[in-house]
Amino acid sequence: MRFLTKLALAAAGLTLTLGTASAQTTVRWLHLEQNPAQVKIWEEVVRRFEARNAGVKVEMQFLENEAYKAKLPTVLQSRDRPHILYSWAGGVLKAQIEAGVLEDITTGVGDYKNKLSAGAVEAFTINGKLYGLPYNVSQVGFMYNKDLFAKAAIDASAIKSWDDLLAAVKTLKAAGITPIAVGGQDKWPLHFYWTHLAVRLGGKPAFEAALKGQNGGFEGETFLKAGELMKQLVDLEPFQTGFLGFKNQQALGYFGDGKAAMNLAISHHSATQRALAADKKGITEDKLGWIDFPMPAGGKGKPSDTLGGVNGWIITKGAPKEAVEFVKFFISDEVQRDLAKQNFIIPTFKGAEAALSAAFMQNVARNIAASQYHQNFYDQDLGPSVGRVVNDATAEIAGGSMTPKQAAKAIQDAFKQGN
């Protein structure tokens, strides 16, 4: 039966590709979005774009996240490469630009970039040239379950310092509540702790110095301290039992089922936890709260500094100019508002954030707007190789198999080896 369905799909796909051959221009667009509700909106956007631009056809292609990362170098160097690709900016983007596989779209975009959030556009600007456009931003912080906090009599708004967080974890444990759910098998949810502590402890200057190899690089004081503070938390055993075997999705489901009080999440996970909860409702809007990542004592970073992602679309070399037009349309006021209205993303189009309907996401949007230092995820920013070592090493701090010192050394060693 399934085989037949696949066959039918393949046949349908074939007729579709044959159909596109008759159009004058085809724009191939490769995306990673798995949420069917969001893909449906995107398909609608494609239809609208095609209706307004006669003779242009947009072909949507999909790859799963990990598969995409593994295939990317091959995909980019093939003759049939997609024209529009998903990107997290950072070190991977730099490697692609160095390899000369991306198109400089500075003139194609022109003044349009001024309509988007400047900080997000910055992430796709290398050496003064623009290679892509950002379509959403996100922030990392603690989602918390208001019911469970009330049960343990904790005032979430009073959690400002790292010690406050540690105290809250102890109180939750004493009340018999699992303080934090984390997807340790995926490792990157654990690297948020270490990274965000580093952002708080050293701010932008510490990260930039480490990139230049100054102050001991990633073995320096800031990063060592980040590991030690993370260890303080880990020693309290704040995570659910068996957290190293949980994928992020499972951990979000666990949080959505109300089994843990907190989750250090990317802002749009507030929607994901609902989809992944057993009852498909998860923690509802009125029960879900947000705590900004707390400030450790003596931290040199600003409390307004944020850690999070900048996601966008990059254009590959030799793509037709319609590809840029489509991306501009995709990141236009109306489309951004549509996505924001359902709280799927924090939009990058200036003013579109007004359409966000959930207080939770509005708050995050305000945070990002007020931030003067928005640090991209380390595992993207440092490139695939060093980034993965950060993930590995921080997961080992959490598992107790590496000391903060060993972890910092592993990261610095990888950084010296380069990509």
Partner: protein
């Protein structure tokens, strides 16, 4: 790429000498000229060239974009041996081989001896034991990740029946490998059992009967007649078990992805995690070459020493 190539080399070997002998004795040069080039072409294209390429890439620091330019000699090999995870992966491969030989093969042999004779239900039981082998590796991995789940899994409910808290086998560096070994044995013993059953059914029954008439006990028949007659199959089975163990990958990924803390990586999953997903083509190629050398050395030595007569 190269771990598959290694397998192809090994699988390709047994046929070659026999084919050559037949062709020369029959003097069918025409057949040789007709059939050899396509095979040789495919073999070169998909086995020899990729191995050569991997060896070439392993000398570069290269992320897969453009063509490799930063030659670093044998540094990648040094990096591989310096990585703690590689030692663990190598040890895990040895562990899988050991368990395959010490647990899996005796289990398969015992079941084969019990099920080789025709009796009511024997075919059904054979099918039942063989079924895990038919399942796709990734599907098996996913099924067992649900079974092992410490909160909702089958194992957890069994523990709960006895009022105990279930362990999270996949989440601890101490038990992750054990969990994988259990799945390996469960999945592949049926295959070896089938090999043994086929051999037992092809065996000359007269020898067993003769031994019986001479007054040998059941155990003596087994020990001195049946098992010696099974030696060729046992040798083959050991060969498959070892090569299969060296290449184990697709069961590991859905279960643990090699974690926690590299504790359950095999050499191939280590290659994937550290080479492919980090875009370190040179480093990954170096692991591939090391794995290839291990496989080839084993295959040739084993053939020379144990499978000379076949």
């Amino acid at each position: 790429m190269s771990q598959h190539s290694a397998a192809a080399v090994i699988r390709g070997r047994p046929a070659a000498p026999g084919a050559r002998r037949r062709a020369t004795t029959d003097g069918q040069l025409g057949a040789l000229l007709l059939f050899l080039p396509p095979a040789l072409l495919l073999f070169t294209l998909f086995v020899v060239l990729p191995i050569g390429e991997a060896a070439w890439y392993s000398g570069f620091n290269w992320n897969g974009f453009g063509s490799p330019t930063r030659w670093i000699g044998f540094d990648n090999y040094r990096f591989v041996f310096d990585t703690r995870g590689f030692g663990i992966a190598f040890r895990n491969n040895l562990l899988i081989i050991a368990v395959s030989l010490v647990v899996q093969l005796p289990l398969a042999l015992t079941l084969a001896l019990l099920l080789a004779d025709k009796f009511r239900g024997s075919v059904a039981l054979r099918m039942l034991f063989f079924l895990p082998y038919v399942l796709a590796e990734v599907a098996t991995g996913l099924i067992f990740s649900f079974i092992y789940d410490g909160n909702y899994g089958l194992l957890a409910s069994v523990y709960r029946m006895f009022g105990a808290e279930a362990p999270h086998l996949l989440a601890s560096p101490q038990t992750s490998m054990l969990a994988i070994l259990i799945v390996v044995v469960w999945k592949y013993f049926g295959f070896h059992m089938m090999l043994f059953i086929a051999a037992l059914q092809g065996m000359d029954r007269n020898l067993v009967e003769a031994a019986r008439i001479d007054g040998a006990s059941r155990w003596q028949v087994l020990r001195h007649v049946v098992i010696p007659l099974l030696y060729p199959t046992i040798r083959l089975s050991v060969f498959f078990a070892v090569v299969g163990s060296l290449q184990l990958f697709d069961l590991v990924m859905p279960l643990t992805r090699g974690g926690p803390a590299d504790s359950s990586n095999t050499m191939v999953s280590f290659l994937y995690n550290n080479g492919v997903s980090r875009m370190r083509v040179g480093y990954g190629s170096a692991i591939g070459v090391i794995l290839f050398l291990i496989c080839v050395t084993f295959a040739i030595t084993y053939k020379r020493w144990f499978m000379r007569d076949e």
